[in-house]
Amino acid sequence: VADAEGWDIRRCTVPLSLRGVDSLDIRATSSDPGWRIVLLEPDDVRTPGLLNASNNRTVIDDFGDGPLEFLLGAQVTCSALGGTILEFALVGSSNGVSTPLEAVGTLSLEPPILPAPSVVITAATIGSSGDIPTGSVAITWERGGPATCPWQITLALAGVDALEVIELTGSEGVSAVTMPGVVVITVPPANPSGDIELDLAFSGGTPTAVSVEAQVRP
């Protein structure tokens, strides 16, 4: 189940005999940054806000009659670069004595598959103002699917040391920053498609080629 905040909630069952165990401490650890993992008791997910207030550990001491269950919430955030593997550690306690259980599980998680956006340079002109090389680049894009994170268009200009964005016109919320030979355009997740035009000034050379590439995150 994926909710509006991107939580993927799974009901997990512990297939162990817990005879003589008073409480069970369960901890899940992600091998990769960018994943937020929480563990909850089965009914807790109905409590508003509890997912965001929880962490990757839960202690269960009311086993009931049926199989032991807990809920796993996984949220992939904007710093995730790919999938992750969760490792579960279980510690049982009886009469105040804790013992790690031999049973340790793993679970592989993958981020949503994101269709590659279409990003095209529709016009690129070069000119000059006195001795200063200038240029204008128009880009149109169409995001392939819904997004929760800002995504990035990288415009690389070969043959240029430094450049500055003089003016950016087009879709609302789109911003551009520069690095040597590169303009990085950030597109808010709410924009499914759009176009922008950049007026640029160069120093340290005149561009010899231009390329554009998109990078999407979950």
Binding site: S31, E167, S175
Partner: protein, 399 residues
């Protein structure tokens, strides 16, 4: 200097038509660079000393020759992940082993290369990022045209096992004035060993009026990278304001915050501001009927010593019009709202069409006594007419 150039370009845009349409008639190839399993990121969790072995697949929808290479990655301002286009390879890009160079691609016939990532025994715990890229060769185009090339990137993300330490630090914000408008620039350093994506709120509390809260979300910042967060303030009313930035990384809980007092120029926004009434646009100065265009930018004051012994004042004088002079740069000083003195920091026989950086020191007679000290800058001509001026660009609170 490049900002001066930028303003010149802005003014000249309507006068100098751009030349040379960059489009080639030949369609760009659509390039693919993936792992053997079809991912555009190779993610692996390893122990120090491990070696990862995989295949990369290169594809194109039309016959083309591409250059395959390993590159460093960094984070640009406002976060993100971009290749570094120049300079020597550094770790972890130096851990990559693959046959680089030119590759001929034909449609329907993928090319594969073996790739190894040899993680050193000495590798510290944490996340490491590098990339492999392919670029097509620029087509031959007519003179004056800017050819397009195609590229594709495969990110290599390695997490070395051990203690995870997500952390970042925010330094003091500064107000800058690029051609696109006033911008709050906040240096940020990823001081931990995991990538973070900071998000949070920028709260702006003007001297008068209601606080403004801007929700912000930035892209990933790679461990070890120092960059900047740049927040446009075009819609924020002019005048003095306190800003507070509080950010956190959702995945790890790492947090950072910083505060500052800024003074937005009188031309900003439409709301009230302490300097709106007496700020004089530089274009109003036209002694010979020809307006000049000189601005004072990046004014900054630093207190030296504890208790304060003197202050260091720096500013840029940017002239994008004709030379003007003689003129003097004067600093007006007030204490607890009452003017104390105006001192000439520097005299110019002429300010050329250029950007000049100034740096000087100031200490009042008798030193800095207790009180709230405020500082403004004016550029005045020989008749005392204001050529350009700032609002209150710094406060020194010694109460």
């Amino acid at each position: 200097v490049i900002r001066l150039f930028a303003m010149m370009v802005l003014l000249a845009t309507s006068l100098l038509p751009l030349v040379g349409l960059a489009q080639s008639n030949e369609p760009l190839p659509r390039l693919e660079l993936e792992t053997a399993s079809g991912d555009t990121t190779l993610v692996a969790a390893v122990e120090p000393g491990d070696t990862i072995r995989d295949q990369v697949r290169l594809g194109s929808d039309r016959a083309t020759r591409v250059t395959l290479r390993a590159v460093n990655l960094t984070s640009p301002p406002n976060g993100g992940i971009v290749p570094v286009l120049s300079g020597p390879l550094t770790a972890p890009a130096t851990w990559l082993q693959l046959e680089t160079g030119e590759v001929e691609l034909t449609p329907g016939s993928d090319s594969t290369r073996s790739i190894q990532v040899a993680v050193p025994n000495s590798a510290a715990p944490g996340q490491y990022l590098a990339a492999v890229t392919i670029d097509s060769r620029p087509p031959v185009v007519a003179g004056g045209q800017l050819p397009q090339t195609a590229s594709a990137t495969l990110v290599i993300a390695i997490t070395v096992a051990g203690t995870q330490n997500p952390a970042f630090e925010l330094a003091d914000p500064a107000l800058e004035q690029p051609p696109t408008g006033p911008t709050l620039v906040i240096p940020i350093s990823n001081t931990g060993n995991l990538t973070v994506a900071p998000a949070g709120d920028l709260t702006i509390v003007p001297a008068s009026g209601s606080p403004i809260t801007l929700p912000l979300a930035f892209g990933p910042i790679i461990p070890g990278v120092t960059t900047t967060l740049e927040v446009p303030l075009n819609d924020v009313p002019a005048g003095e304001a306190k800003v507070q930035l509080t950010l956190s990384d959702v995945a790890t809980g790492a947090r950072g915050e910083t505060t500052a007092t800024i003074d937005l120029p009188a031309s900003n926004g439409e709301g009230p501001g302490v300097d709106v009434e007496d700020a004089t646009p530089s274009s109003a100065y036209a002694p010979d009927g020809e307006p000049v265009d000189v601005t004072i930018r990046n004014a900054h004051l630093t207190a030296e010593g504890v208790p304060v012994e003197f202050v260091t004042v720096s500013a840029d004088l940017v002239n994008i019009g004709e030379p003007v002079g003689p003129v003097s740069l004067v600093m007006d000083i007030s204490r607890d709202g009452a003017p104390t003195e105006s001192v000439t920091l520097v005299d110019f026989a002429s300010v050329p069409r250029a950007s000049l950086s100034l740096n000087t020191t100031y200490v009042p007679d008798g030193g800095f006594s207790s009180g709230l000290w405020t500082f403004r800058l004016r550029l005045v001509d020989a008749d005392g007419l204001v050529v350009a001026q700032t609002g209150t660009f710094a406060k020194l609170d010694l109460t």
